[in-house]
Amino acid sequence: MSTTLAPTAPAQDRLIVRNWKVPVVFGILAAFALVVFAVLGPGGTATFRLSQDGDAWQLPNLVLPARATGIVVTVLCLALAALAYRQTQRTGRTERWLGVSFAILFVIGLMVWIIAGTNTQNITLVGLFTGAMLIVTPIVFGSLSGVLCERSGVVNIAIEGQLLAGAFTASLVASITGNALAGLVAAAVAGVAVSFLLAVFSIRYLVNQIIVGVVLNVLVAGLTGFLFEKIMKIKVEGATIYNQPPHLPNLPIPVLSEIPILGPTFFRQSILGYLMLVLVAVIWFALYRTRWGLRIRAVGEHPQAADTMGVNVNRTRFRNVLAGGAIAGIGGAYFTLVAVSSFSKDMTGGLGFIALAALIFGRWNPVGAFLAALLFGVAGNLQSVLSIAVTPVDGHFLAMLPYALTILAVSGLVGRARPPAASGVPYVKG
């Protein structure tokens, strides 16, 4: 018996399930690059300005000839597609660095094509990135909230509502107290309050978590809108006094802030910008390198097993949802204390849903969500930077990019985004 079993077991191991999605997608994109970037590519050049006038270290402008870049990108893309084909034929899968380098190459080709096709043919990269941070920061806070909730098994569709509640409360409390930090704390409390409703209804009353999330978004939009009309429009001596929050100051870090491109983007921010970077690192470390994180992931993946091992599933979920609310609330404060100077109705404008997209595209991982948020933020800001220029591709299509990528991700066409197994399923002991 054992002699007959021995050869069959390795044979089964060698049975390769080939996944052709990646080579096919690469091939289609490479063909797109061939036609659009190389053959039909615009003449002339694309100029990327790397430094601003006031910078300590001045970098020369990066000038790329459009069609030549297009040809180089196309050739490399085709090479990567061929490599992906070979890898798939041999091992059934493609290695991860292939996808990453393909994406980077393609984005470079796309950028050069877009910029060279505009009427001005140049773009300030620093402006593009610093502008993008205005969108990226709240998205990252929102995604981190989602990470904490979903990793413990609670779907958080209410990110949008948490951000909006944070923005409103921060503006109101900071205006009354005249202290931006007080506004920040209040925003966290408001986020926790929204989260508390989410937790009570989905964990205590076992209501479908998606329904609660959707409804909470409407509730917060209604509440903030109503209170905005009733309170924030009260005028004393001709001026509104409850919607004039003080700003959180920018705190440039001495040496780091002088690094070209990276400095202005990451190291000339308000305290919220640094808090965001710290939180990404801390939450990643806590989730994947500590006992606490292991428990949370266990609760999100297999609550019965976690319960058997003595983890209180619902208490863990409750705490995580509340913590997520605090983080998203603080992210909401960014709107009124840093980005703009007052609250307006529905000012989060769907960023909470982009945060959800970033969370999924980043595979429920804090660092992944951060990178996805950067990508989405740059795409979104590119759209507004280019909205005044005549471009080869309409800005609305750039704005669709995050959503389209997320759909591709959840349907398994670009990588495979798999949520925590028990996410969205209430846990009833017994």
Binding site: V215, F226, A399
Partner: protein, 426 residues
């Protein structure tokens, strides 16, 4: 029959394949209690629902939501604040002010939504017709959420489906030249097709790749918003206007008005009623509807029974998309008569709350849509006459749904006996 078998297995399936059945097993917490009663006689069912206390919970949820909304209105009213300042001197004033502020606001709401004898013109008195007009797209989009619900899918994408339907029907409405009746039919068909395409994408992805329909439909909503932004920038834009709007639809392409030129109520309302009847028949009387409900109750059991679950997902999302598309038609060919970026308003999201309030039954959705239409119509009059922001309507609507989705909470507030066990057994 299969429903009875499905009930114990639903819990099993939920634990065996949690990721796949995240939105399927139990949508409202009461969904399982409501669905088994749907098959037998209609009259019996309605009677039993009231007896079992589910309808009572709905009514009480509305009451509690209105009370909380009223508190919010009262607390933020200046007169109440002033009276509270000398509460101990004359406590009666505070309660008088409270009553005045709330009754003024809700009075304006009710009068604006139904009949207002104090309005200056007799046309302005009949707010009921405005209620029906606003309810029309809500009924259609609500049905789109309802029918997907019954097949176990959570269609958050009504918003995007409405936009696509509206764009398609507007393009046909001002771009083609057809004889009167034929043109309107073409506009309706185009809207249904546009919405069905958008819904179908989510259905196909769900069926073929298992992509969660909630994520896909949310993302499709935002793609649709950007798509209409692009369409109104060049392809569908009115060249004679500086604003991003389409040219007006031809007269042959719009719904005829039902009550003459003084009211906005149009024939789209009749279309909505027809759609309710059709969906009710489809769900409760047809083989397809039985399959869809079986898939919604327990996909594994449905598969075992020989039904093709993936086909069901695609079909139901096509139908749901088409219904949302018809809501877009009602907007473009009924009230707006041209296409703009705000054509869907918040209808797609209101539709979710409408379907939840209607307990995912076609006629329940119909009456829930009428209620929300009344809220909107009355909210406008409340904003004008009682100086209460229309946003309070959003608060009340969302509270209603929260309370309805959590019957134990309402039972706890009113100390009702748990009726769910009786309801489920029946």
């Amino acid at each position: 029959m299969s429903d009875n078998r499905a009930a114990p297995e639903a819990a099993e399936a939920a634990s065996a394949a949690p990721a796949a059945s995240a939105g399927e097993a139990d949508l409202t917490g009461t969904g399982t209690a409501a669905s088994p009663g749907a098959a037998p006689g209609q009259g019996n069912r309605i009677l039993r629902e009231i007896m079992s206390g589910n309808a009572l919970v709905s009514v009480l949820a509305v009451v509690v939501a209105l009370v909380i909304g009223g508190l919010l209105i009262a607390v933020t009213d200046e007169r109440v604040g002033a009276a509270a300042g000398y509460f101990f001197a004359r406590p009666g004033d505070l309660f008088g002010a409270l009553w005045a502020s709330v009754s003024e606001a809700y009075g304006a709401l009710v009068r604006g939504a139904t009949y207002d004898p104090t309005a200056r013109t007799w046309l302005g008195q009949l707010g009921i017709f405005e209620t029906l007009t606003i309810a029309t797209p809500l009924i259609l989009a609500g049905l789109a959420v309802t029918i997907a619900f019954r097949a176990g899918l959570f269609n958050i994408g009504a918003q995007g489906q409405i936009i696509l339907g509206a764009s398609f029907s507007a393009a046909v409405g001002f771009g083609w030249n057809l004889p009167p009746v034929l043109h309107l039919l073409a506009v309706i068909l185009a809207g249904a097709v546009g919405g069905a395409i958008w819904g179908g994408i989510a259905g196909v992805l769900k069926a073929r790749t298992g992509a969660h329909e909630v994520i896909v439909t949310i993302m499709l909503n935002y793609i649709a918003i950007n798509l209409i932004g692009y369409l109104l920038k060049s392809p569908l834009k009115d060249p004679n206007s500086s604003n991003p709007v389409s040219p007006a639809l031809h007269d042959s392409a719009v719904f005829p008005l039902l009550l003459g030129p003084n009211f906005r109520l149009h024939a789209g309302f009749l279309l909505a009623v027809l759609a309710v009847i059709a969906v009710a028949w489809l769900l409760n009387r047809s083989t397809l509807g039985f399959e869809l409900r079986a898939i919604g109750a327990n996909p594994s059991a449905a598969r075992t029974a020989g039904m093709v679950v993936s086909r069901g997902y695609i079909i139901v999302m096509l139908i749901a998309g088409a219904l949302s598309g018809l809501a877009g038609v009602a907007q473009v060919a009924g009230t707006e008569k041209s296409l703009d970026a705000e054509v869907a308003g918040s209808i797609g999201f209101d539709a979710i709350t409408v379907a939840l309030l209607g307990r995912s039954t076609p006629w329940g959705t119909f009456f829930a849509a009428l209620l929300f239409g009344a809220f909107k119509a009355g909210g406008t009059s409340m904003a004008v006459n009682a100086n209460v922001s229309i946003d309070i309507v959003l608060v009340v609507q969302s509270l209603i749904v929260l309370f309805i989705a959590a019957p134990p909470l309402i039972r706890a507030i009113f100390r009702l006996k748990s009726a769910s066990s009786r309801g489920a057994a029946a």
